[in-house]
């Protein structure tokens, strides 16, 4: 990249022809209002896409792609860029053909159509969804160069949906109801167990995201929203909820999504996503291009509540400054932070550290390895380091 000392990339000694000459777009008409019934990003933003890592899995239908965090700003993830994780590909379901069944320990087992669900009281909430395996490839050391790949299994969306409590109340819970099983209508029949208390507190059955219908890859026409808890629980294409008195021990809560520790034992039911943060710029996909004034930015989030503070270090964790948080600070939502700083072209070791409303402080990767080992796969919320070189390029490194 071209590194420019000073204020601007343009030559200041002779007039800029982009100003002195009339450009085509300043003269000729562009597309009219009948051309884009549903709009798309500019052709100059073609690089802003979800990306997958083809060597990760045997099959793209049971795999993941990643949100381009380094290209985002604010706290809302555009629906078209929310990372995808499927176990049998994207089910494309006609909402008229979708059914939701409630059975098990209820007074009356029920079947709902989507029309039924849309006649229930609804609510709107912004929540992050993070896959428990986000940053999972980084347990043993720096692996992928780019926050899209290291941290891109997270997104943040405004959901519209019906509180699960409304639906459970309509069916009537039996007194011994303790666990719920959520089941998807896709080819993997994804199923997970969820404690009834969580189901009655803040879980939503969502049919809209960011103002419009759910996207197919996010579970259209109906998905579970389990605020602050690992993404795998947020069952997509939700078709059934069974009420029971014990957890089901499904494949996704035993073979997967349990956390193997160094001593060979494993934690189960590790639902909550601990506080975490990442600097998205500068980062390997978002180099510094200029000396002088720059914007450092990133996201912080916590499954336990709100983000209270974010600290940033430019020297690998020796010294910290508190970042400016800007934009809504919401419960269990991505939160945006900035540090406006002057850069003289020196090497930087950039880190961020989230602190949530419960007082939890995001640990370093080594602190985490000390208590968990390196075989956990899931719940890696350690502090990320980007080494920024004198030319502004940056890379994913481990510090010792």
């Amino acid at each position: 990249i071209a590194m420019t000392r000073g204020a601007s990339a343009t030559d200041t000694t002779k007039p800029d022809p982009l100003i002195t000459e009339v450009q085509d777009w300043q003269r000729y008409l562009g597309d009219g209002v009948d051309k884009r019934p549903y709009g798309s990003p500019s052709k100059f933003e073609k690089n802003v896409i979800r990306r997958d890592v083809s060597w990760l899995t045997a099959s793209a239908e049971s795999s993941v792609n990643f949100t381009p965090l380094h290209e985002l700003d604010g706290i809302i993830t555009p629906s078209g860029l929310c990372f995808e994780r499927h176990h049998g590909g994207v089910a494309e379901i006609d909402p008229a053909k979708h059914r939701l069944m409630i059975n098990g320990l209820v007074e009356k087992p029920l079947v709902f159509t989507m029309d039924d669900i849309k006649r229930m009281p609804r609510t709107n909430r912004i929540y992050f969804l993070e896959c428990a395996a986000n940053s999972g490839m980084e347990w043993r050391g720096a692996q992928l160069n780019g926050c899209q790949f290291t941290h891109g299994m997270v997104h943040n969306v405004m959901y519209t949906g019906v509180p699960l409590k409304v639906v459970l109340d309509e069916a009537g819970l039996r007194p011994n109801a303790k666990w719920l099983m959520l089941e998807g209508g896709d080819a993997s029949g994804m199923n997970r167990s969820l404690p009834v208390e969580k189901g009655l507190s803040d879980v939503l059955l969502a049919f809209a995201m960011n103002g419009e219908a759910l996207r197919p890859e996010q579970g259209y026409p109906l998905r579970a929203v389990i605020p602050g808890w690992e993404g795998n629980l947020w069952v997509k294409w939700l078709r059934r909820i069974e009420v029971g008195d014990q957890p089901w021990q499904t494949r996704e809560e035993t073979s997967k999504y349990t956390d193997l520790l160094a001593d060979g034992r494993s934690r189960k039911h590790t639902f909550i996503m601990d506080a975490k943060s990442v600097v998205t710029s500068p980062s390997p996909q978002a180099p510094l291009k200029y000396k002088g004034r720059n914007v450092l930015s990133g996201f912080a989030w916590s499954g336990r509540g709100t983000i209270q503070r974010v600290d940033v270090s430019l020297d690998g964790g020796r010294n910290w400054q508190t970042a400016r948080i800007d934009g809504p600070v919401l419960d269990k939502s991505l939160t945006r932070f900035y540090v406006d700083f002057d850069w003289n072209g020196e090497e930087l070791m950039v880190q961020s550290r989230a602190i949530d409303s419960t007082g939890y402080v995001q640990p370093t990767k080594d602190e985490l390895r000390k208590v968990r080992g390196v075989n956990s796969i899931y719940h890696n919320n350690g502090i990320q380091t980007w080494l920024v070189h004198r030319n502004g390029d940056s890379e994913n490194v481990e510090l010792g």
Partner: protein, 204 residues
């Protein structure tokens, strides 16, 4: 045009009662205590035949996994190793999970195509591949199913992060001179597996 309507009723009156045939069609889940198991049976031998026909192309003749497809057997004693092999035999806590999962999701690409008896046979064969059942005439059925325990069952415990990781709740995180001068000890670039644009590196 009437006056403003009264408060809506407490029960919404939405949805309709699920019929027994409908519940039967979807309620196929199986729990560790055997609840949800259909009446049925299958032997290791029957399972072997089925597995070679419908599963081995991905999971390998002996469940060892073909290419990057999942490994289903082996790995016993590796859970403390540098690269653990987590399989049904080495890791899974409950046999019910195998039945539940195969019945709902396998074979991959043609889910829900196995009969109840075929699923019993396949689970029996997977027990055999994992050295939990040695006799190839062994028949797994709804009666003996819940009695079979998997080796790693006792190794799981409930989330205890709030106590075991209590130190991460720290009232006064260090702000100045918090550590020695850091040194770079590892770089993603040395591993060199980051996809460039749309395509990842070829593996296999």
């Amino acid at each position: 045009v009437g006056a403003a309507p009264a408060e809506p009723a407490a029960k919404m009156g939405l949805g309709r009662e699920a019929l027994p045939e409908e519940i039967a069609a979807w309620d196929t889940d199986v729990r560790p205590d055997g609840r949800g198991l259909p009446v049925g049976r299958g032997t290791v031998k029957q399972g072997d035949e089925l597995f070679q026909e419908r599963c081995a192309s991905c999971h390998g003749e002996f469940g060892q996994g073909a290419g990057r497809w999942p490994v289903l057997a082996g790995g016993q004693g590796t859970l403390r190793a540098d690269r653990p092999d987590k399989t049904i035999g080495s890791f899974w806590p409950d046999l019910s999970t195998v039945y539940d999962y195969i019945r709902r999701a396998m074979p991959y690409g043609n889910a829900r195509s196995l009969t109840d008896d075929e699923a019993y046979a396949l689970v029996a064969f997977l027990l055999n591949l994992n050295d939990i059942v040695k006799d190839e005439n062994f028949e797994l059925n709804d009666k003996n199913f819940a009695s079979i325990k998997l080796p790693n069952a006792e190794a799981f415990f409930d989330d205890d992060r709030e106590t075991s990781e209590k130190k991460f709740w720290n009232k006064d995180p260090c702000m100045r001179n918090c550590r020695e001068l850091p040194k770079v000890t590892g770089k993603a670039i040395s591993v060199d597996v980051t996809p460039d644009g749309k395509s990842g590196p070829k593996v296999d």
